[in-house]
Amino acid sequence: MSPTPFLVLSALLFSIGAIGVLVRRNAIVVFMCIELMLNAGNLAFVSFARQVGNLDGQVAAFFVMVVAAAEVVVGLAIIVTIYRTRRSASVDDASLLKY
C-alpha cells in the first residue's frame, strides 16, 4: 500500500498546525497547534517506516510522543503562571517586551 495518502495527510496536518500557531491568539490554542505539528511528524515517521521497511521511524514516533508529553508539563506550567498573573492567556496581551 502506497504511503502517499498518509504523507499528504501529514503535510496537511503540519500546515494546519503551523498556520494555527501564526494566526491564533490564545496561548493554549497555539500550543495545541504545536502538538498537531508534532503529531503530523509522527504520522510522517510511521508512513516512511512502512515505505523504507525498517522500524526506526516507528521508534521515533514514540520518542516524539514522550518529548511532547514533557513539553506539555513545562508549557502548561508557564501558561498557567501567565494566566494567574494577568487573567489572560492571550499572546497579544503579553507585550511588555518589545523593540
Binding site: 503540519f14 523504507v52 521515533a60 508549557g75 508557564i78 498573573t85 518589545k98
Partner: protein
C-alpha cells in the same frame, strides 16, 4: 514476522568510561531532584550548590581523562579522532570532547552567578515562590521567610547535560532528544526571576511557544530526511546523499526545515526575534548561561549536522547560509544601535556574533593537513565560541552588579557616569565591550581573525568584507557605551555598584582574565581546538 522468530534480545553495548562526563552530569541532576525532596529547607542551598559545582568539576576531569586516552580512529588522514559510542547514537570525537569540556567550564562559571546571594540581600536572584502572584502578600511572605527555589541548580544541570548530548549526537533522534532536554529546563529558568516577574514570565512564555514551534519544525525536517535516507544515522544520510538513492525533494525540504530548527537555536536572523525578549526578561545569571552555553552547543550541533550528515549536499545549503549570515550580521549590528536597555543591547550583539560565526560556517573550510598553522571552519568556530562565551558571561555578571532600588538598573541612562562610581567595574565592562568589538589584544580580535580567515580560505570572501563592515558598525555602539560610562555625568543620583560576594567577583575576574589571555596568547587554546580535529564520521 512472528514473535517467536524475533532474534534474541541483545543488550546494547555502552562504553561507560567514554560516556562518563554525560552520565555524571545527568546523575548529579537526578541526585539534585532527590535532595530537593528530602533535604531540610535550610540546608538545600548549600547542598545543591556544592553538589552542582562538584558534579561539574568531576565531569570535567573525566572529560579530560577520556580525551587524553582516546586513540585516533582507524580512518587515518581525516584528522578525526575518537569514536562512535552507544550503538551509533553518540559521537565521542575530538570536537565533542572539546565542546563538553568548554561547556562544563562555562557552566561552572555560570553556576557561581546563579548561586550569588549577597546582591539580593541574602537570597538568590530567583523567585522565592514561583507560584505566588507578583506583588501579593504571599510573595512578600515568601521572601520574608527566606524561601528560595533551589531547583534552579538541578535544572541547570539538566540543561547542560542536554547541551552535551545535543552537541555530540550522531543521529537525528538523539539530537532531537538532546535539544528538548536542554530547552525545557531553560524555558522554566527564564520565568523564575525574583525582580520584574511580569517580564520574566512573559519571556518564558515567548521562549517556550517559539522554541516548541521551532522544534516541531525540526521534527518534521527529521521525518523528511528519514524518508529520503531510510535512517537517522548521520553516516547513512551522508551515504544516501552521495549515492543519490532517494528523492531530492524530500532531502531539500528536510534540510530546510531542520535548518530552521537549528538556526533558531543559534539565534540567526530571521529566526532571532525571541533572543532580545528572552535575554532581557530572563534572570541575568540565566541570560549569561544561555548566551555562552546554548550558543556553543547549538553551533556544535549545527556544524555536525551540516558537515557530517548533509556535507554531500553543500552546494544546496551554502547559498542559503550566505544569505542568512548577511541578514544576521546586519540585523544584529544595526538594530543594536537603537537599543536603550543594556541586556537587550547585548542580545542584539549576540545576534551579530552569530552572523560572524555563520561566515566561517558558510566557508566550510576543511583545512589542509600540510599547512598546520591554518584552522578549519569548525576549529575557528569553536575557538570563537570559547572567547565569546567567557566575555559574555563576564559582561552579564557586571550587569547584575549595577543596581538601584528596584533591582538591576538595566536602562542605559542609568549607566552614565559609572566610571566615576566604580572605575574597576566600569573598566571590566569596557574590556568586555572592546572584546565584543574585536579590538586587538582582546580575545574578540583573535577569534574574529580566526573565523574570517577560515571563511576567506573557504572562498566566502564577500561575506568577510560584509562582516568587517558590520564589525565597524557594531563597534560604534560598543564604544558609545564606554563613552557613556566614562565621559558622561550621572543623571540624578547616578548608578550604584553593589559590592557582590566572592562568587560574582570571581566570575568577572575569570571573564576578564580569559578575555585578555586569549587576546595576547591565543595559541594554547587555538592549538587545543586544532588538536580536537574534525568530526568523526
Amino acid at each position: 514476522m512472528t514473535l517467536l522468530a524475533a532474534p534474541a534480545f541483545q543488550a546494547p553495548n555502552l562504553a561507560y568510561g567514554r560516556l562518563s562526563p554525560l552520565l555524571i552530569i545527568f546523575g548529579v541532576a537526578l541526585v539534585g531532584v532527590v535532595v530537593e525532596a528530602f533535604a531540610p529547607r535550610e540546608l538545600r542551598y548549600q547542598i545543591q550548590s556544592l553538589l552542582a559545582l562538584a558534579g561539574l568539576v568531576v565531569a570535567f576531569i573525566s572529560d579530560v581523562l577520556v580525551a587524553s586516552s582516546s586513540p585516533f580512529s582507524s580512518s587515518a588522514g581525516t584528522g578525526a579522532f575518537g569514536g562512535i559510542e552507544a550503538q551509533g547514537a553518540i559521537a565521542v570525537d575530538g570536537p565533542a570532547m572539546f565542546v563538553w569540556g568548554i561547556l562544563l567550564v562555562m557552566t561552572l562559571v555560570s553556576v557561581l552567578l546563579v548561586a550569588e546571594r549577597r546582591l539580593e540581600g541574602g537570597l538568590t536572584a530567583f523567585a522565592g515562590q514561583a507560584s505566588a502572584l507578583p506583588g501579593t502578600e504571599a510573595e512578600r511572605e515568601a521572601s520574608a521567610r527566606g524561601i528560595e527555589h533551589t531547583e534552579v541548580f538541578p535544572l541547570v544541570m539538566f540543561a547542560v547535560g542536554g547541551m552535551m548530548l545535543f552537541a555530540s549526537a550522531n543521529d537525528f533522534l538523539t539530537m532531537f532528544v538532546g535539544l528538548e532536554v536542554f530547552s525545557l529546563p531553560l524555558y522554566l529558568l527564564c520565568g523564575l526571576a525574583r525582580r520584574r516577574r511580569l517580564i520574566s514570565q512573559e519571556a518564558a512564555m515567548k521562549y517556550f511557544l517559539l522554541g516548541a514551534f521551532s522544534s516541531a519544525i525540526f521534527v518534521y525536517g527529521i521525518a523528511m530526511v528519514y524518508g529520503f535516507a531510510g535512517s537517522f544515522t548521520f553516516a547513512d544520510v551522508d551515504n544516501a546523499i552521495s549515492s543519490r538513492v532517494g528523492a531530492d525533494g524530500l532531502l531539500l525540504l528536510g534540510m530546510g526545515l531542520m535548518g530552521v530548527g537549528l538556526l533558531f537555536k543559534v539565534s540567526a536572523a530571521p529566526f532571532h526575534s525571541w533572543t532580545p525578549d528572552v535575554y532581557q526578561g530572563a534572570p541575568t545569571a540565566i541570560t549569561a548561561f544561555m548566551s555562552a552555553c546554548t550558543k556553543l552547543a547549538a553551533f556544535a550541533a549545527l556544524l555536525r549536522v551540516f558537515y557530517v550528515a548533509l556535507g554531500g549536499a553543500r552546494w544546496d545549503w551554502q547559498p542559503v547560509v550566505w544569505i542568512v549570515a548577511i541578514i544576521t550580521m546586519a540585523v544584529g549590528s544595526v538594530i543594536a544601535i537603537t537599543q536603550t536597555d543594556i541586556k537587550r543591547l547585548l542580545a542584539y550583539s549576540t545576534i551579530a556574533h552569530t552572523g560572524f560565526l555563520l561566515t566561517a560556517f558558510a566557508g566550510a573550510y576543511q583545512g589542509t593537513i600540510v599547512l598546520t598553522n591554518q584552522v578549519s571552519s569548525l576549529q575557528a568556530v569553536l575557538f570563537y565560541l570559547v572567547a565569546y562565551g567567557f566575555s559574555s558571561i563576564g559582561a552579564f555578571a557586571v550587569v547584575t552588579m549595577v543596581r538601584d532600588s528596584s533591582g538591576e538598573a538595566t536602562h542605559l541612562s542609568r549607566w552614565a557616569g559609572l566610571g566615576k562610581e566604580s572605575p574597576v567595574v566600569a573598566g571590566a565592562m569596557a574590556l568586555f565591550l572592546l572584546s565584543f568589538a574585536g579590538i586587538p589584544l582582546t580575545s574578540g580580535f583573535t577569534s574574529k581573525w580566526a573565523v574570517f580567515t577560515a571563511a576567506w580560505e573557504g572562498g566566502a570572501w564577500p561575506l568577510v568584507i560584509v562582516a568587517v563592515v558590520m564589525s565597524l558598525v557594531a563597534a560604534f555602539f560598543y564604544i558609545r557605551i564606554i563613552v557613556l560610562m566614562f565621559f558622561s555625568d550621572p543623571v540624578g543620583e547616578g548608578p550604584t555598584v553593589v559590592l557582590p560576594s566572592m562568587l560574582t567577583s570571581a566570575v568577572v575576574t575569570v571573564g576578564a582574565a580569559v578575555t585578555i589571555l586569549l587576546g595576547v596568547v591565543p595559541q594554547p587554546v587555538l592549538e587545543l581546538a586544532r588538536h580536537a580535529g574534525e568530526f568523526v564520521r
